[in-house]
Structures are given as structure tokens and as C-alpha cells.
């Protein structure tokens, strides 16, 4: 496992605070993450149900369980990342580095990093209907940037692919990814890709969304 210093923005005072990006998470890390995030998810779900908030307006990763994903880390191609700030996991990401290939014509068939799961801790979600603001901002953005950097480290030149949850589509569009279209093999989620040029432009602009 290696670590790098990153910065998050604390919403209450808009101050930059030091955080750590950990790379190469172990299965136990994902279990620990879910042990803390799971009860938070349930609390949020209870509040949403009490308010009668329909499913499509709820945070779309509410049902995720990082503990269930922990077994995937036994694969050489799977790699976990996490952001720690103030002794708490603020975000996590799982990427794949061998089983996905570019679909865009210009680079078709070349390897890319596939962003399988990217999620901020439940207390960092902005849930407007409950009046909940995120405690730290920029978690998703920092993890997304890390996925692009991982693609470069792997020799994939920044090429990145992912399926976006509907509530996250605008995030990836703003980042400059190409919207390839709905994927019937993946619950009709929209598939996005970064070409090497788009990735380099994104990083050249500071790598922020």
C-alpha cells in the first residue's frame, strides 16, 4: 500500500484540509469502510422513507456494500483506493486494469482503467431533500483524478472508462469524458470514456471537476 497527500474542502468553513490517498487497499479495508458507512446508509434510508422520498430521488449508491466487493481484490486486475481525512474513510474507489478495452473508434481495443465503483462516504453526500450538506467536498473529484493517474501509471495514457449512475452523468460530462451511450448489458447505465487527449486536457486543467 502506498499513500499520497491530497486536499479536501471542509464545507463548514471552505478551508482546505489535508487528507491521504491510499492506494492498494486490502479486502479488510473495504470491510472496515462498510462497517462505518453501512449504519450511515441505513440512517439515511430511514429518513428518506419517513419523508416518503421516491426511489429515483434517493442517492443512487444507497444500496452499495463495500464489504461485498472485498473479494474482488483477490484479482490482480482489481485495485482499491481510499481517501482518509480526520481518521475517517471519506471515499473509496475500485478500478479494474485488464478486462476492459477502449470502445471509441480512434483507440478501439486498447486497454484502459475501468472505474468500477467510486463513492464518497454517506456524510459527504449532498442530500437536498433532507437538507444534508456534504461534510467534505471534492472527494469524488479527487478519486476520479486518481483513476486517470492510475491509467497513466499503468501505461494506458490516461484512458479511462466507466458506467455512470444517472445522478453522476453531469459530473463526467463536465470532466470532459465522451458519452458513448446506454449499455443494455449494464442496466442501461450510460458508458463514458476518456481518450488519452481528453485525459491529458483534464489533468492539464488541474484535474478538478
Amino acid at each position: 500500500m502506498s499513500e499520497r497527500r491530497v486536499e479536501l474542502i471542509r464545507r463548514e468553513d471552505n478551508a482546505f484540509v489535508e487528507a491521504t490517498m491510499l492506494d492498494g487497499l486490502a479486502p479488510e479495508d473495504l470491510l472496515l469502510i462498510e462497517r462505518v458507512w453501512g449504519p450511515q446508509r441505513l440512517r439515511l434510508l430511514e429518513k428518506l422513507l419517513r419523508r416518503g422520498v421516491p426511489r429515483k430521488e434517493r442517492p443512487e449508491s444507497l444500496h452499495w456494500d463495500w464489504g461485498l466487493k472485498s473479494g474482488e481484490l483477490r484479482l490482480l486486475e482489481a485495485k482499491g483506493f481510499g481517501v482518509i481525512c480526520q481518521d475517517e474513510w471519506q471515499g473509496a474507489m475500485l478500478v479494474r486494469t485488464a478486462s476492459h478495452f477502449t470502445q471509441l473508434e480512434e483507440d478501439k481495443g486498447k486497454p484502459l482503467v475501468y472505474g468500477d465503483y467510486i463513492e464518497a462516504a454517506p456524510w459527504n453526500w449532498r442530500v437536498k431533500v433532507l437538507g444534508q450538506e456534504s461534510r467534505f467536498m471534492g472527494v469524488g473529484s479527487i478519486l476520479f483524478r486518481e483513476a486517470v493517474l492510475e491509467s497513466i501509471r499503468e501505461g494506458f495514457h490516461g484512458r479511462l472508462g466507466l458506467h455512470a449512475l444517472p445522478q453522476a452523468e453531469s459530473f463526467y460530462e463536465t470532466a470532459g469524458m465522451t458519452r458513448i451511450g446506454q449499455d443494455p448489458d449494464k442496466q442501461d447505465l450510460v458508458y463514458f470514456e476518456f481518450t488519452r487527449e481528453q485525459a491529458q486536457r483534464f489533468l492539464g486543467d488541474g484535474g478538478a471537476v
Binding site: G24, L75, L76, E77, T97, A98, S99, D107, G155
Partner: protein
């Protein structure tokens, strides 16, 4: 970054040519091609051990060719 170990690899001329062609086509170093191959081989082997099947589809998703490793 995980600690890396070094090994010597002996390839035939044909294997080296195939490796070089893949590296050129995929825009990867030869080491990266072999690393990718190992990751894929492990993925496929584990899925097959779990009882899954590996097959290829054509563009129309009609023909399937089962692959057994």
C-alpha cells in the same frame, strides 16, 4: 506502489514477435503486455473455477464460441 521482482523470460522468435506486435498495437510496453496477460489469465481461471463459462460473441451477439482453459 507494490514491491516488484525481476525475472528472466526466454521466448522463441515467434513469441517475441507476437509480444512486440501486441505491444505496438496496444500502445503498451512489453512488460505491460505480459502483466495484462497474467491479470486476464488469473481472472479467467478464477471464473472458470467458480463454474462460469468464457465465450466470444460476434457483432450481432449470435455465434458463441466456448473457450476452455
Amino acid at each position: 506502489m507494490a514491491r516488484k521482482r525481476t525475472m528472466t523470460l526466454n521466448l522463441t522468435e515467434a513469441e517475441m514477435e507476437a509480444l512486440e506486435e501486441l505491444a505496438r498495437k496496444k500502445e503498451l510496453s512489453k512488460t505491460a503486455v505480459l502483466r495484462q496477460a497474467l491479470r486476464l489469465y488469473q481472472l479467467v481461471a478464477l471464473r472458470l473455477e467458480n463454474g462460469d463459462k468464457l465465450f466470444f460473441e460476434d457483432e450481432e451477439k449470435k455465434q458463441a464460441e466456448v473457450m476452455v482453459l
